[in-house]
Structure formats: C-alpha cells, structure tokens
Symmetry: C2
Subunit: 431 residues, 2 copies
C-alpha cells in the first residue's frame, strides 16, 4: 500500500496535500491540471485569470515523484492526451500547495480544495489523497479534541494500560432493558468501555433516551460499588436537533461519551457537536471502505483522520490486527500511529486522538497490538473475545489484562499463560 509512509510537502503557511496519481499525460501537464482545477483555473483560459491572480491564488505544484510505468490503466474513462493515444500510463506522487487565502480556515473549503473534482479529472486513471498538511492557523480556528487520551483516562480512571472495551451485540434488536442487562454482565466482568453498534441509533424498539437511561442506571450502580465509572459511547448520530438533545441528556445524566458516525454526520455536523459537547466524542468510521477499499481511488486514513481531529473527535476507529474485514495489518497499525502523532506539535494544544481497535479482537492479538503501537494509549474492543471466553466474560476480560501485562513486561504471551489460566484458555480458544 502506498498509504503508509508519505513525506508531506509541509509548510507552516500553506495548505498542502500529496496524491498518488496515474496518467497518460506528461506528469508536469497532469500536475498542472490538478493545480488549475483546484484553484484559479478552469478548462480554458479566461479573462479574469490574470498573472497576478494566478501568482497569488493558483495552486503550486510542489513536487512530482515519478514512480513507475504501469501496463494497464487502473480506473476506466480517462482520456489520453491528443496525439499521444499510445502513451504508457505512469504512476507518480504529486505534491500541491495552496495559499491559505484561498480557503481561509473553513474546514469545508479545505475539503473542496484538496478533494473536490480531482477524482473526476479525465487526465487520471488513479487518484488518491495520501496526506494533507494544515497550516498552524487551523489550530487556532478549530479547538480539536477536548478529551482524547488524557481526558478519557481521567473519566474512566484507567491508567498505565489500554482501555478494554466492547460493542453491544446483537447490533440491533435488543430492548433497552436487554441492552442494560448485557451491560450489567460486561461491567461485572470488569470492562472499561462499552459502545453502541453504529446500526443502533434511536429506533422504535430501543429509543435513545430509554436505552441510555437503562444503561446509565447499571453503570451508576457498579460505580457506587467500585468507584469506577464505565464509559458508555452512546450513538447519537442523527439530525442536529436530536443530537443536541441527546448530548444534553448525556451531560445532565452524568454520561461520559457520545458516538458519532463520521461519514453520515459530516464535517459540519461534527464541528457543531464538538461545540455543544461536554463529553468525549467517539468517532466511528462506518463507510470507510468507500474511501479505502480501492488502492487506486479515495484517500488514506492518514489524511482522513486529520479532518475529524480538527473537527474535534476524541476517539477514532482503526480496525484491528487479523481483523475480520479485508484490511491488512500494516495499514491498521499505520492508522493507529497516525492517531497518536501530533498535527501541530504545540504543547498548549494537545491534538492526538485515541485509536480504537475492534473487529474480531481477542487476547491473541492484544500483546502484538500494544507492541506494534509502542503505547498503552488505545481502546481495545472485543466482542466474542470476552463473551465467548470458555471461562465466561470475567475470564475474557482477565485474559486481556494478562495479555497486556505480558506485553508490558516483554514476556511472550505463551510463556505468561503458563501461570495465567484465563490467558491460557483464551489462546487455546481463539488462537
């Protein structure tokens, strides 16, 4: 995958972006077409596009890195340059940059500028946004995540290890009372974090308010006993009015998290929720495959997550090692590392987000996840890895603690399992 290690044409004053492209045009002409379409140009020279305007507002081609020629075009419907029908398609990396005067600090304008019509330009048979670099002025324009790792640890009381979480399953169909009963089992088992599935919103069979209240009653009852409040990412994704009401309820009822499905709520909706929220915002990427499944189209997670971080998301889903989807381990880890890499590097304005691993996760992948991330700062969500543990849910949670303890001590899980029976059982059941 070309997404993984990309050097961005960083500049502290210009907005910049890096692309993977494939074209039969000479690379300089192809890059110029991108720059023109996404700034002051149009398809033909026009009277208003003066030399002065071009100099100030025209996108700049920062670099072109020729990668290789390819035998066949990846995507259909591109057109060859005139008089060059037989030109061989080439792959390249192209860096563009823009004067911040083009967009101001409006996130939606940046979206139109670095993505916009590029994917439809007839010059290209592959087009993928690899990275985007926001000038420092964006750190002042958007507050970014209010909680992230530190705030999430503070609210859950979990220090020195990853958070162990789960997703309510079945995704749909449980009543509020059934959801609360499941939460009761999971909290009794020692879980730190629980979330709604992205399919569960505010349906007739589980109205948001009733479900939230039922789960919070269980959380509070356990907190009274243990002194530790489990975080519940309640899925508020919906219309802005309803999301605001639900956020108000979460805040007033002592909830500690709200979940947003980023791709349906949208940038504008997420920015609005950030302004309104008193709790961490848990970002679900349902539909991410639309942007990522083709290696020839779309955008990298590196670029994707920067938009949502600026908008104010505190947790970002990154899939998991040996997951049940088709994402490769390499990009899963690249995504998680991206979440923990600062965007602006300012001490007064922490801007990393907490990566969330999920999808077929068990004690088997736990240690490797921690090792490869080189950090405890993540949420690790297991379903069957907890509920289907041969010793029951509490043994499932214990097997994850064991796996993380082993990794922290640098002891192979197989060895550590010798005198940790819950881990041993998990490795046998799920390995």
């Amino acid at each position: 995958m070309n997404d993984i290690s990309v050097a961005t044409a960083a500049s502290s004053e210009r907005l910049s972006a890096t692309y993977l492209v494939e074209t039969r045009y000479p690379l300089e002409a192809a890059a110029a077409a991108m720059a023109g379409e996404q700034s002051s140009g149009t398809f033909r020279a026009i009277p208003g596009e003066t030399a002065e305007l071009l100099r100030r507002f025209g996108a700049r081609v920062e670099f072109i890195e020729d990668i290789t020629d390819v035998g066949e075009e990846a995507l259909p419907f591109s057109r060859p340059p005139k008089n060059a029908a037989a030109a061989t398609p080439r792959r390249a990396r192209v860096g563009l940059s823009w004067n911040i005067e083009n967009t101001g600090t409006v996130l939606a304008s940046v979206w139109s500028t670095v993505l916009g019509n590029l994917f439809e330009l007839h010059h290209f048979s592959a087009m993928r946004l690899l990275d985007v670099s926001f000038p420092d002025v964006f750190a002042d324009a958007y507050p970014g995540p209010a909680f992230a790792v530190e705030g999430t640890r503070r609210l859950t009381g979990v220090e020195g290890r990853p958070l162990i979480g789960t997703i309510v399953k079945p995704s749909v169909g449980l009543s509020p009372q059934e959801t609360a009963a499941l939460a009761d089992t999971l909290i009794a088992a020692g879980i730190d974090f629980i979330k709604d599935d992205e399919l569960m919103g505010d349906p007739p069979h589980s109205p948001f308010e009733q479900r939230f209240e039922a789960v919070m009653a269980v959380i509070d009852r356990h907190a009274d006993r243990s002194g530790r409040k489990v975080m519940y990412a309640a899925n508020i994704s919906g219309d802005v009015d309803a999301m605001r009401r639900q956020l108000d309820l979460i805040g007033s009822r002592g909830g500690t998290c709200a979940m947003l499905v980023l791709n349906s709520v949208g940038l504008s909706g997420v920015v609005e929720m950030r302004q309104h929220s008193a709790v961490p915002l848990h970002g679900h990427r349902a539909g991410w495959g639309l942007f990522s499944r083709s290696p020839d189209l779309g955008m990298s997670y590196l670029a994707y997550q920067k938009f949502w971080r600026l908008a104010g998301i505190d947790h970002m889903h990154v899939n998991g090692l040996s997951n049940k989807f088709c994402e490769q381990d390499e990009t899963v880890m690249a995504s998680a590392h991206a979440c923990l890499t600062t965007m602006f590097g300012r001490a007064d304005r922490p801007d990393t987000v907490m990566p969330v691993f999920s999808s077929g996760q068990t004690a088997v992948q736990a240690g490797e996840t921690r090792d490869r991330l080189g950090s405890n700062d993540f949420i690790y969500c297991c379903g069957g890895g907890i509920m289907a543990h041969p010793g029951g849910p509490a043994a499932g949670v214990q097997s994850l603690h064991d796996a993380f303890d082993a990794a922290a001590a640098g002891i192979p899980a197989r060895d550590y399992a010798a005198n940790h029976p819950e881990l041993e059982a998990a490795l046998q059941a799920f390995g």
Copy 2:
C-alpha cells in the same frame, strides 16, 4: 455501467437496497454475510441472537441475480471461502431489505445500515450500492425539498424553458467587487442563475458577507429595471453556526438561494440547514468521484441523490453531456432523470429536485440535453459557453435561448441557426 437501469426490491414498509457484488463465495453465503453484518448478526453466533430476534430484525435477502463469472477479482484483499481457493469470482445483484424498526426514520441510521461496513467485508472483491428505496414513513419524517422546480421558477420568474446559469470564474481570487462586476456583465447578458464555485466559501480575500452584499446590490439594480431577480446560489458550506448566520443574511437581504457542498457538510448538516432555510438549497456534489469513479466500488447517483433529496436539497448537480470530466453521457442523463423521478409519488408532497448541468456546456449540447431529458425543468450552467462566445456574453446567452427554442420546436440546431446568428456563431465556435 450497471448503475443505469435497476429494478429495486421495493416495498412500502421495509427499507430496501440493491447491490452489485463480486465474490468467490457461493452467492447465497455471500448475500447472507451482507445481511448478517448489516443487521443483527456478527462474525460468530452470539447468545442474544435468538430466532425471534433474527426473524424480526435480521436483514432479509430479497433476491440474488447471478450475472456472470469474471476472470479476475476487481478489488484486492478479499479472501476465498475455506477449501475453495480456486473458486471463480462471480458477479451478481443482491437485494436486501430491513424492518423499519431497525433504523426508525433516522437518516444517519439508514446510511449506516445500507452502506456501513459492507465495503470492507472480506467476502467481496466488488461492492456497489445501486439503489435504495425508502418506505413511505420517511416522507413524513423528512420534509424534502421546499422549492425544487416549481419554487425555483417562482423565484426567478422563468417559465416554459430551462434556466440559464453560470458559475463565477476564476473560482478563487476575485474580490467581492470583482465578483459583483462579473455578475453585472452576466446579468446584463440575460442570465437567470449565478453561483459561487465550490472552492469559494468565506476566505479573507472575499468574505462571504461582503461578496454576497456586493452581488445582491447588482442583482437588485437589474431587478429594478427588468422586474426579474436573478438567483444567486451563494456558497455557505462551512460550520453550522456560520452557515446559519449566512442563511439569515440571505433571507433578510432578499437573496433567493444558498449552495451546500453536500459531501463536506454531511447529511446532518444539510438537514439542519433545511430546517433553517427560507430559500432553495443548491446541492453541489464536489468529491462525487470518490463514490463513483470506480465501477467496482461506491454507489450509484440514483442511490446518492435520494439521501440528499430527503434531507431537503432543491437542486442537484449532474455534470453535463460531453463534459470535461470522465463521466459518460449515459450516466449523466440517468442522474438527471433520477432527479426528476418522484420518490414517494404523493400529490401532497412533491419530492423531485431540479437537475443542474455544468462542465464545458455550450449551445452545442443544449438541445440534446433538453431532448434526452424530455423536460425543461433543469438549470443549464455555462462558463465559456457564455463568456467566450464570439459575440460576447449577451450573444452567448442568446445562443442558449436559440438552442432551447429549436429543441422545443423539434428543429435541428444546425437548421435553426440559419436565421439565428448567435446560435450559428456558437455552433461554429464550440462545435
């Protein structure tokens, strides 16, 4: 393209969707994986998924149409079924449906349900949403477009022909005064509709309020003379607070349209603007290539536009015939027809939207566009087709009137041009 003629598994009570898929799994197993992932199932059987719950909340496979086998997988990273590594990938259409109890009438929940994780399922090497059919209850839950064709005609005073429009170019770099001067030229030339480019939002060199005021002053001056108010789709795409302020300004200052970049503002943001807006909402699809450029991934425009129509958009961009991008004429026209096809077929609740043609449009394609659409109910945006007409902008606009008049009379444009010099000049210059 498989997007064009699709029979949806319509049902008045269930949410339904049709997909193009490619898989090495037996088709029944593949369809069952889709249904499970997007409803009550997870990767393994779980205790809470009772027979009763499955019956009520499980997605139903409505049909499977085997299309053909294919030599090679379209997208990478799928996994073959166990013990069948050599299975040949097959293409099929799959219809799924859901109990409306799963989502209620929350548009964001529908988005998660019909798209969600499907694109990442390891069973598939192609996955495209071809159509979605909303049960009638959504017509009561969301008001849909408030203006659409009828309201747009009422506000512009244009009857019996398409609206002739243009996009301010250069896209970025003009000051408010320069934009207003260009608008003055275009309105004097006889234009009906003018819009900001999607790259132009609220930047320092052209603050929204100043640009809007400058253009409106020009529009009003011409309206005082002609009695006809040109519609200006001012691009408000941004954060919800700012969009609300800008909508208020548009309403109080007598503006008649606001433009939203759908993919950045998002469903939640658009629904919020619909509630707040006193003017038609002009939907720009910048970034549409992300969903459409690969024939093996993403979604059809037929499905895409239904979400935005429900959210309340009045105008939808559809590209244009012989456009400068890589979209084929066939899908352009399918998109435009989709916009003018009712979703719910209710007399009390018109729900068609006005298609907007643009990208390299001139008098050359005007007649064919009208003929193939079989309707005058569209906005036809030209840049060079007006500004670069050899006789000047007024002749450019006249050439478009001529072309539409010829088409309405069933006369070939070449013949009609014999005694319509502006059309003649346009056909020569742009043909």
